[in-house]
């Protein structure tokens, strides 16, 4: 191990709310949610010299209003860090937070930093997807992207049809529904065992009905059945395959992680959980953006000289079940369930506040590593709007001496 390597030390998130007037965070600011998880991170890691944070790196898709004003910098103030701590905001849509982790790790590996806060937030109630955007008309007039594919659900429908055209295996609606049901069941099983309490923090929030404590993921519904799933409407396409049941929802949430250099961990006697091996981001056809994780995973494996079979656990952000099933089929994983993929639940149950999700994957993977000491390598990967994929490869270092 190299002391200039970057390590994931810890991660915290808010519970994810529904982006609706009756959602937990309807009247709570995104940057207050960021402040909350930062402060909880500080509390959970009292031996870290927080005054010495080198950069506070935050991802958000829509950087206006309560996600604007270079939130990475403003939350230095609201979380009570000293002025000397720098801050920056990053946008790669859904992979915003994941990109922050990659940037932070790179700063560390190039000896530009020792302590990095990397997080992601999305308040989709305050900032619905695409709100306020003004895409260049050339994208449409010159037929770069058909406008209907600005809707992510439509790209998921296309992915179903596109895979066989590319020589990939077909993913049926039934397979998507089965996947969604199983990942939801795994979520509740883990929730009841306290898996999520370990990295989620309660937050008192002021709502139109008074103060309440946001203490659960509002997206997930208990007691879903396959019959129920089959009967849901397909809002993106008539006689389509993508439903509310096999997709992630619209959510509000904030996730933060602490990335540190090996040298700093060693100096302070801090035991990190994962080593950052490498990260990769790739572009794909924007009309099938859900395919992104496949080439991203292939790229990160190739660049690091590893094989898919080296991976013991994969935390995949399944914005839509179709992409998870397609991913599993492409890499020859076991269907309908593979113990290596999203073992304790996934996005369809947890929720998907865009830029925050990549960081959530990492904190779950770290916890998976703690629970599975034999696991050596893991992957966090996700698709990104307008056709991208992102992946980070991590090594389990739980309990290891640096």
């Amino acid at each position: 191990m190299d002391l200039r390597d970057a390590y994931f030390v810890d991660g915290v998130r808010t519970w994810f709310g529904k982006s609706r007037p009756d959602g937990f965070y309807w009247t709570t600011r995104a940057d207050d949610m960021v402040t909350k998880v930062m402060k909880e991170l500080f509390r959970r890691n009292p031996t870290v010299p927080w005054d010495e944070v080198d950069d506070n790196i935050w991802g958000a898709t829509t950087q206006v209003g309560d996600q604007g004003t270079t939130m990475g910098r403003t939350t230095v103030f609201t979380a009570g860090l000293p002025d000397k701590v720098a801050g920056v905001s990053v946008d790669r849509m859904c992979a915003g937070g994941m990109t922050c982790q990659a940037i932070g790790a790179s700063f560390i590996m190039t000896n530009s930093a020792d302590i990095i806060i990397a997080g992601g937030v999305e308040h989709m109630a305050h900032h619905p997807m695409g709100a306020g955007a003004d895409p260049n008309p050339r994208i449409v007039t010159e037929k770069m992207v058909e406008p209907k594919y600005f809707n992510m659900g439509v790209t998921a429908e296309k992915l179903h049809d596109w895979m066989p055209e590319q020589g990939e295996q077909t993913v049926s609606k039934e397979e998507s529904d089965q996947y969604a049901l199983r990942v939801t069941n795994r979520y509740f099983e883990s929730l009841d065992k306290g898996y999520y309490d370990k990295h989620c923090v309660n937050m008192a929030v002021f709502t139109p009905n008074g103060w309440v404590v946001a203490n659960k993921d509002q997206q997930a519904r208990r007691g879903a059945t396959i019959e129920g799933m089959r009967n849901l409407k397909t809002p993106f396409k008539k006689a389509g395959k993508v439903t509310a049941g096999n997709s992630s929802g619209l959510n509000d949430g904030a996730c933060v992680s602490l990335i540190m250099s090996g040298a700093k961990c060693k100096e302070l006697g801090i035991k990190p959980k994962m080593r950052y091996i490498g990260g990769a981001f790739v572009g794909v056809d924007p009309t099938v953006m859900g395919w992104g994780p496949v080439p991203a995973t292939e790229k990160v494996l190739k660049r690091t000289g590893m094989k898919f079979d080296d991976l013991d656990i994969i935390e995949l952000n399944e914005a839509f079940a179709v992409q998870a099933v397609g991913f599993m089929k492409h890499f020859g994983m076991k269907l309908p369930e593979d113990p290596r993929l999203n073992p304790y639940g996934g996005t369809i149950a947890v929720g998907h506040p865009l830029a925050s999700s990549g960081v959530r994957l990492s904190m779950q993977l770290a916890q998976d590593f703690e629970m599975n000491p034999k696991a050596k390598y893991g992957l966090t990967t996700m698709c990104v709007g307008l056709g991208m994929g992102g992946a980070i490869l991590w090594e389990n270092v739980v309990g290891k001496d640096l």
Binding site: T35, K39, A79, N202, A204, P208, G210, W211, V213
Partner: protein, 692 residues
């Protein structure tokens, strides 16, 4: 004004460690600038919430909290009807006591999480809880106060009893009497915590989370709240000293602070219920008092009416933009103005005087004041330096006046000099530049008459000390244009002063009333009344300063000058006082002097003051002075010097510090029958709370 009803909203939080916790939020559904207040409906909703919580055996804890930035600012005083029966007034007290007492009687730990502004009944509801957390200032609870005495009431929902028992009689006096009488000074979370009125001072960022955590820990027994023992007994010394201090402030004018003091003293001996009943009775007395009625009137006048800028030309008349300001003169008054303008407008201010040494002195004063502000942390040292050295500049010529948007003159009170200054300004200033005069007594139309464009002149009369007294008299001269007038109002608003529109009449408004008041006083002395008897009798009414103290502060020479101005206009009503003339001739600056036995009138002044041999009772002195004031107010209104008795009262409250509990002056004159006796009519024939 629309009425926003606050409700208590109940949510349950299932705490994994402590069980079911009731979180009760006080919220009126409006943004923070419409604060939560208690009213009948709010109490109903609180009682409903209590019904639910009392009947649910699973509930393990209770937490009361406000909406963001606001806990609760107490009863909505504008909704209290002073015409209600005394029985109904007693019920107001009982309604609060009975509802809040139910919180105290809950069998589970209760915690008030004071997240934002808490006043009156907002502070009081917190006191019925077992524990209190308070959100740290700045940004948390920045206003914590029991301001009732300021408005002629007493805290009537437990404040006098519970603060005394929880903190101490000293704290109760500070919060309930001393602060309200000190221009309604507010405490904040830090002070409340230090006074023992909160158990934990918590950072605002996670205040509600941390308050819930504390309650959870109290329920599980992980955390115990320790408080130091309090002796609620008030010593006789403390009682007497406080009474003496109140006497010095309000004399016999207000009752509330005295009654509050008695309630605080009683707390040690009464049971809680006895104490609450005493509060009910006292509150009812106060609600029915003329002082409360006058205070509501004054509150409305200064907090609401004045903000609408009565007297300003209609909105369609846009005032000029102000980007540079000139001040003629560099004396104390001029320097204070320059400082104020620079701070509020953040634009260049150029001061001119006739000699460089005067200019230097003015600039030195400005820089010293800015330095003091910087030292206190009220502005950055960099800003202080920039303002003192770059923004505010001095000159002995008119260089730099050509692009001023307005110029205010504060030169010697002599019409010829002012006319000359304005004439010179007209040569150098751009045509749309306003000429403001801070004259306290000269005829402004006269001042403008030699100008090519007299419409640019307007009176803008400050009151001394500028930093303390909020009033500005805006005087419309014969030819003052609408846009100039509108701009003057906008300037007043920008510098956070309260403008009153006044006609161009001798001594304008406030000084004329003060001089009539003085005239009544001099009449008594001239006829033979004892100096100190007169001074004390008038002070006893509740004015902020005794007449002689005020005369000393203003300066006898200035008082005489204004008197002479008024005398020129109305020789019969404003005779020039021989005594005053003599003491000015002797160069006396004060009327009062310290003697071996206390304070007395300077014997040399007495010697030079011709007196008759009539003797007066205190009441006769008061009557004479108030009749004289009533007569003058009547004439002021008849002459149209101001548009309404409300302007008169705004003037004397904001410009002379006359008390809220007298409503300025016209409510008191009505209430005590002086207006009818002196002028055959009431100033407020429809009552005080009639809307304009």
């Amino acid at each position: 004004m629309a009425k926003y009803i606050m409700t208590c909203k109940l949510n349950f939080y299932e705490s994994k460690k402590a069980g079911k916790i009731a979180i009760v939020t006080m919220d009126n559904g409006q943004s923070y600038n419409v604060p939560n207040t208690w009213g009948v409906e709010a109490f109903e909703s609180l009682n409903k919430v209590l019904d639910t919580v009392e009947s649910d055996p699973d509930v393990k804890g209770w937490l009361l909290v406000g909406k963001p930035f606001i806990f609760n600012v107490g009863a909505d005083i504008m909704s209290v009807d002073p015409d209600m029966s005394r029985d109904d007034a007693v019920q107001i007290g009982r309604m609060g006591h009975n509802s809040f007492k139910r919180i105290m009687d809950l069998k589970i730990p209760t915690l008030a999480a004071i997240n934002g502004a808490a006043m009156g009944g907002g502070v009081e509801v917190g006191l019925y809880h077992d524990y209190r957390t308070i959100s740290k200032s700045p940004g948390g609870c920045d206003h914590y106060a029991l301001p009732e005495c300021f408005l002629g009431l007493v805290p009537g929902w437990g404040g006098t009893q519970l603060v005394t028992k929880l903190a101490s009689p000293e704290v109760a006096i500070q919060l309930i009497i001393t602060n309200p009488l000190n221009m309604n000074a507010m405490s904040n979370s830090k002070k409340a915590f230090e006074m023992g009125l909160a158990d934990r001072l918590i950072e605002p960022a996670e205040f509600v989370d941390d308050s819930i955590k504390l309650l959870e820990n109290i329920i599980t027994g992980e955390e115990k709240i320790e408080r130091k023992k309090v002796d609620p007994k008030m010593s006789d010394d403390l009682y007497n000293n406080t009474k003496f201090a109140v006497l010095g402030r309000v004399h016999s004018g207000a009752m509330a602070p005295y009654r509050a003091l008695d309630l605080i003293r009683g707390a040690a001996d009464w049971t809680l219920d006895e104490g609450f009943e005493q509060e009910n009775q006292t509150l009812a007395d106060m609600i029915k008092s003329r002082q409360f009625l006058s205070s509501v009137y004054s509150f409305d006048l200064t907090q609401r009416r004045a903000k609408r800028l009565p007297g300003r030309p209609p909105k369609e008349v846009k005032g000029y933009g102000i980007n540079k300001i000139g001040v003629i003169g560099a004396g104390l008054m001029a320097s204070q103005m320059a400082l104020l303008f620079a701070q509020r407008f953040q634009c260049p201010v150029v001061m001119k005087d006739i000699k460089q040494e005067f200019v230097d002195k003015g600039l030195a004063y400005v820089r010293e004041q800015l330095g003091k502000r910087a030292k206190k942390g009220r502005m950055s040292a960099a800003d202080a330096k920039w303002m003192g050295e770059e923004l505010i500049t001095g000159t002995v010529t008119y260089d730099g006046f050509e692009d001023c948007d307005f110029v205010i003159e504060a030169v010697f009170e002599e019409i010829g000099i002012k006319q000359k200054v304005f004439g010179e300004l007209e040569e150098v200033c751009k045509p749309e530049c306003l000429f403001l005069t801070n004259t306290s007594s000269l005829d402004i139309s006269e001042m403008a008459k030699f100008l090519k464009d007299p419409s640019r002149v307007v009176g803008f009369h400050f009151f001394n000390p500028i930093a303390v007294l909020p009033l500005v008299e805006i005087i419309k001269a014969e030819k003052t244009s609408e846009v100039v007038l509108a701009t003057a109002f906008d300037v007043a608003k920008r510098i956070k002063k309260t403008p009153v529109l006044v006609k161009n009449a001798p001594a304008f408004l406030v000084n004329r009333i003060l001089l009539a008041w003085m005239d009544g006083i001099f009449q008594c002395i001239d006829e033979g009344a004892d100096f100190m008897q007169v001074d004390n009798a008038v002070a006893d009414l509740g004015f902020p300063m005794s007449p002689f103290t005020l005369a000393g502060l203003v300066g006898p020479a200035i008082a005489l000058h204004v008197q002479e101005t008024l005398n020129a206009a109305w020789p019969e009503r404003f005779p020039v006082s021989e005594g005053l003339k003599n003491l000015v001739a002797k160069g006396k600056k004060q009327l009062l002097t310290f003697t071996d036995t206390g304070i007395d009138v300077d014997p040399e002044i007495k010697q030079g003051w011709p007196q008759g041999d009539k003797s007066f009772t205190d009441q006769e002195i008061k009557d004479r002075v108030l009749m004289r004031v009533a007569q003058e107010v009547d004439l002021i209104l008849k002459e149209g010097v101001v548009a309404s008795p409300k302007d008169v009262d705004t003037g004397v409250i904001m410009g002379a510090g006359w008390p809220f509990f007298m409503g300025g002056i016209t409510p008191y004159l009505d209430q005590m029958g002086y207006s009818e006796k002196a002028c055959g009519r009431k100033f407020h024939p429809q009552g005080l709370l009639e809307k304009e």
